[in-house]
């Protein structure tokens, strides 16, 4: 066999086989699922594709979507943050203690700084002290909820006197309702962070194999600390958006937010073992959950049935990805 002939054969063998060419990325699958759900909505309920319904839909997922962005970063790093609900509550309550000052800088600043501080504590205990994040953040969930109750004496607060706070729930930014604008802009920022900066590869490497990352010069502990801090700030932001939207800062709020955010993260393609996941996937996942709930509400389906359907949708979307990973292994 001559060289030219051998080269031709190799080229033929290297050419992607037909099934591989047909394989589409996981985010494309999520986008397709979303389109199918929207089409189903359009068929089943009149006016489903209206701008007003998109507004309702995006408003309903904005806060949890932003919290899920933070969760996604933490999960990519190989850790987990079960404290996001406690972080959202405690941050909002700390901010509420300053409502009487009437100063938006103090109220919003205290809210975000509290989120940052909780993330810092979670990050230090996980990355530098070496306690598993599951334990650290579970403890922090309990602590932050309890402290929120102690500070607030279990009573709600009303941020009506601070217009800038309410803007986070009811205002406009770039012509869009603020929660939606923040969902999209923070999402874009996170995409830039994970795809177009050196932080992105370091994050994926840390989550994929921390030891290898450290040996290759990546400061894995700093990466983990950073994602916990970002997650804390985003949880506080999500809490502030929802509190502003309801004009109501409630120490009993956000029950189950951590699991909701985690479900969106997993639906978005992040593996709990770390090293994979994407912000775009998380956004698509939040939209899928939002469309399912919005559509079922409009069809008059009960909350309990909605939970079953949502869980089934998560399984249906996530399962092929896991099967593919198993085959790859």
């Amino acid at each position: 066999m001559g060289l030219a002939e051998q080269s031709t054969i190799q080229r033929v063998e290297n050419r992607p086989r037909l099934p591989d060419r047909l394989v589409v990325g996981p985010d494309a699958i999520r986008a397709a699922v979303l389109i199918v759900l929207l089409a189903a909505g359009a068929l089943l309920t009149p006016g489903y594709l209206s701008l007003e319904n998109f507004r309702i839909l995006l408003m309903s997922v904005a806060a949890v979507g932003i919290v899920a962005y933070g969760m996604t970063l933490v999960v990519i790093s190989g850790e987990i943050d079960l404290a996001v609900a406690g972080t959202a509550v405690l941050s909002a309550i700390v901010g509420a203690t300053l409502l009487d000052t009437g100063s938006p800088v103090l109220v919003i600043g205290a809210t975000l700084v509290t989120g940052l501080a909780i993330g810092l504590v979670n990050g230090v205990l996980t990355a530098f002290v070496g306690i598993p994040s599951l334990i650290v953040t579970l403890a922090m969930l309990g602590i932050s909820r309890a402290v929120a109750n102690i500070i607030s004496r279990g009573q709600a607060s009303y941020p009506d006197s601070v217009a800038a706070y309410l803007w986070f729930g009811n205002g406009k930014l770039l012509g869009l309702p603020t929660p939606i604008a923040l969902l999209l802009s923070i999402g874009a920022l996170m995409v830039v962070l994970t795809r177009f900066t050196t932080f992105g590869p370091a994050l994926y490497a840390t989550g994929g194999n921390t030891k290898a990352a450290v040996l290759s010069g990546i400061r894995a502990r700093s990466v983990k600390l950073s994602v916990f801090m970002i997650c804390g700030v985003l949880a506080a932001t999500g809490g502030m958006i929802e509190s502003a939207r309801l004009s109501y800062i409630n120490p009993a709020a956000f029950a189950g937010l951590e699991l909701e955010a985690l479900a969106i993260t997993v639906l978005g393609g992040a593996a709990l073992a770390g090293g994979s996941g994407s912000i775009l996937g998380t956004l698509l996942a939040a939209l899928i959950i939002g469309v399912v709930n919005n559509l079922l509400n409009q069809l008059g389906v009960s909350l309990y049935t909605q939970r079953v359907v949502t869980a089934l949708v998560i399984l249906a979307v996530v399962l092929p990805g896991y099967k593919r990973r198993q085959i790859a292994k």
């Binding site: 309702i56 009506d160 109501y248 120490p251 409009q298």
Partner: protein
């Protein structure tokens, strides 16, 4: 877990038992006997429920089995022929909430301030409930603690079981081991609390439940609220102001007493008015954000949306938020979406005052004092000092609150300014 005793309260609670004059009692109110009036209406509408003519209402009523729940819910007279009037009750600062409170029933099953029973003995009483993070439940705890603080020989231990039934059971078992003199509890669910209550009763410790019931048939007393009158009045109000419209229901957890009785009684009241159509039925489970999203979606799905029925206050405020965000408060066939609420939080009252919410049926959390006094009577009965109170202690039916005074089927409504018992933080 929080536990405390009387001494801790004496400094913080400005406890002052005063029967405050009800400034407007002499106005157009004829509320004496509202309990009996509402009981009569309950019986009247319960009897008519078997022949509902509205198919939309009847289908839901039958589908969710409301009849079974309603038939089992006690409706009856007050202890010792007590007659409640607006304006009654003591004012104090809540030991836990630090908020000003006027409790409506401090004259019901009365007990003088000072030592109880044997003045040379200290009576150890446990109060276990769920929810130091919930305004309604903190107010309930406030009234238990206030009553305990009025009696120097009562030592009260208060524990929050944080909505964990098994933890509540463990707390009760611990108190049995420590030979407490009595137990007051607010059970979240009926069935799991039956066995621990039975164990306490077997150990000779009287037990009184507040608001919700347990599955124990041996429990000493149950202090019950007025769920039936709540739902009924929502229906009476609706029928009074309109005779037709598309309605969306925001309900509490399926199978909960609050949902079964309030929603069932509401459906009984409107079941023979054919113009109402139920176009949405959601269980938003006392979560304002869920009620907000469900109502937003229902508004989108129904261009004709006239009435929002809410089984609780959180549901009503979530619905209101969505309706306002959609800019549709002043829409609907009557020119405004009618919003019906339960639970007399100050936030609800502010919205009644502004006209955003149309009516609320008060369901006061300020009944803990009644439970503690009943428990002391039980302890006294065990010591042979007095007679035991009845097993069922029904609290007075309370009249609905509307923006202006109205008379609806003999029930005279109160305005938010006349309703002195609202709980929770003040709202501008």
């Amino acid at each position: 877990m929080l536990s405390t005793n009387r001494r801790q309260f004496l400094g913080g609670a400005a406890s002052l038992a005063v029967v405050a004059p009800w400034a407007k009692v002499g106005l157009a109110q004829e509320t004496q006997g509202v309990h009996s009036i509402l009981n009569d209406l309950i019986r009247q509408y319960a009897a008519a429920a078997s022949s509902m003519t509205n198919p939309s209402v009847r289908d839901l009523y039958e589908q969710d089995g409301f009849q079974d729940y309603l038939e089992a819910y006690p409706v009856g007279d007050l202890v010792d022929g007590f007659v409640w009037e607006p304006g009654m009750g003591a004012e104090f600062e809540g030991p836990y909430s630090n908020l000003p409170i006027k409790a409506p029933f401090t004259d019901y099953i009365p007990l003088d301030e000072g030592p109880v029973l044997d003045p040379d003995r200290t009576y150890r009483i446990g109060f276990v409930f769920h929810g130091f993070n919930h305004p309604w439940l903190i107010s309930l705890a406030d009234t238990v603690a206030w009553e305990a603080a009025r009696h120097p020989n009562i030592e009260l231990e208060v524990i929050d079981a944080e909505f964990d039934d098994s933890r509540m059971g463990q707390v009760i078992d611990t108190w049995i081991t420590r030979q407490f003199d009595g137990i007051v509890l607010w059970p979240a669910r009926e069935a799991p609390m039956g066995p621990p209550v039975d164990r306490a009763i077997e150990a000779g410790i009287p037990v009184v439940s507040l608001d919700r019931r347990t599955s124990s048939s041996a429990i000493s007393s149950e202090v019950l609220g007025n769920f039936y009158a709540n739902g009924l009045q929502q229906g009476l109000y609706l029928k009074h102001v309109v005779s037709e419209g598309n309605m969306v229901l925001n309900r509490k957890d399926l199978g909960s007493t609050a949902d079964s009785i309030r929603t069932g009684a509401f459906l009984q009241a409107i079941g023979n008015t054919d113009g109402f159509e139920i176009v949405g039925n959601y269980h938003t489970n006392s979560q304002r954000s869920l009620a907000f999203d469900a109502t937003a979606d229902a508004l989108q799905a129904n261009s004709q949306f006239d009435i929002s029925f809410n089984t609780g206050g959180e549901e009503a405020l979530g619905a209101l938020g969505a309706i306002e965000e959609a800019g549709r408060l002043n829409s609907g066939s009557s020119g405004k979406i009618i919003i019906l609420a339960n639970d007399d939080a100050k936030e609800i009252m502010a919205n009644i005052r502004s006209g955003a919410i149309d009516m609320v049926a008060p369901y006061t959390p300020l009944i803990g004092d009644v439970g503690l006094r009943a428990l002391i009577r039980h302890i006294g009965a065990n010591e042979g000092r007095n007679e035991a109170p009845p097993r069922l202690i029904i609290t007075p039916n309370l009249p609905m609150v509307t923006r202006t005074n109205m008379t609806i089927e003999g029930v005279q409504t109160l305005t938010p300014d006349e309703w002195l018992y609202a709980y929770g933080p003040a709202v501008e």
